[in-house]
Symmetry: C2
Subunit: 204 residues, 2 copies
Amino acid sequence: MEAVVLANGEYPANPLPLKILAEAPYVVCCDGGADEYIRRGNTPDVIIGDGDSLSDENRRKFGHILHRISDQETNDQTKAVNFLLAQGKRHIAIIGATGKREDHTLGNISLLIDYLRAGADVRTYTDYGIFIPCQGTRTFPSHPGQQVSIINFTARGLHGKGLVYPLSDFTNWWQGTLNECTDTEFTIEAEGEYLVFLNDTVLR
Amino acid sequence: MEAVVLANGEYPANPLPLKILAEAPYVVCCDGGADEYIRRGNTPDVIIGDGDSLSDENRRKFGHILHRISDQETNDQTKAVNFLLAQGKRHIAIIGATGKREDHTLGNISLLIDYLRAGADVRTYTDYGIFIPCQGTRTFPSHPGQQVSIINFTARGLHGKGLVYPLSDFTNWWQGTLNECTDTEFTIEAEGEYLVFLNDTVLR
């Protein structure tokens, strides 16, 4: 992984996203998301946003790494991902993207499909699990009993191996949620795009 | 409003959902969601679920109001809504449906469209705002500057009045998020189904 985007949702509490953040070679904070990161003794490589949710003190102190990108059509998470892609950094972890306003959560999660289309290898790590945007057939390591949700975007011919419940070409988000792994790996066969959510039962 | 469903997500902290819960004429708790409600001195009218996330003490003490509905195809929130619809209670508020596992949040929110199709007049109140499943053209009271998100499901011909940014037939969730009201009401013209999220800026 080449970079971490720390978004402006709830600051992570789970050990996995915290570890990813601590070990990140390059950290882009989304606007006010930088405040808590700095308060904990860290220095972001870049802060993306218009600075309106950043504290006055940090706006002064870190003005030299604040990149203002004015684009009403995208949010700060997308600006951060685009900033990294423009630098050739494709392998990206997103942290802190959920847990506050639910419309922000929905937006940030669904944008993963756009980042996949733009060529990013990106995952969102939350306090409850990992969102992975996928295209075509994919296999993932798992453990028996691990909960997994599949959220369909444009996929057809959805078929699962190593899952308790059968998959179909879901038309509503909830239909693929709350499935369960039966083995140490599972496979999703499909044409088109979908999101996988792996509930991290090990870390909680 | 005839009934409140208290789901098994994060217990509400915002004054609006807490007020709705306190004034509810009839409260259905989803399984373990009952524990905190009872701990605060309340008694649910019904507890729906298989009791596996309910505390041992409450399973014993409230066994007489625990309705076990075995259906692997639906979650407890849906069982609660169906239970109410079967009693003729159509006007339903859902509380505590978000804030923990994000796949549960996605599922619970998207299920509102199914409840609308089943004839329910239902809204989900979160700590950050209100989700309203809609069909066809709808007008809502608002205040200038209030943030609103529109998440498209099956709607065509989406067009807004009293909103800062124009609507179109969005194909990804994020596209209709983070709009803003310009006046004391706004209208969404459409054929088909969509979700409105009203960010409650007054109460925060």
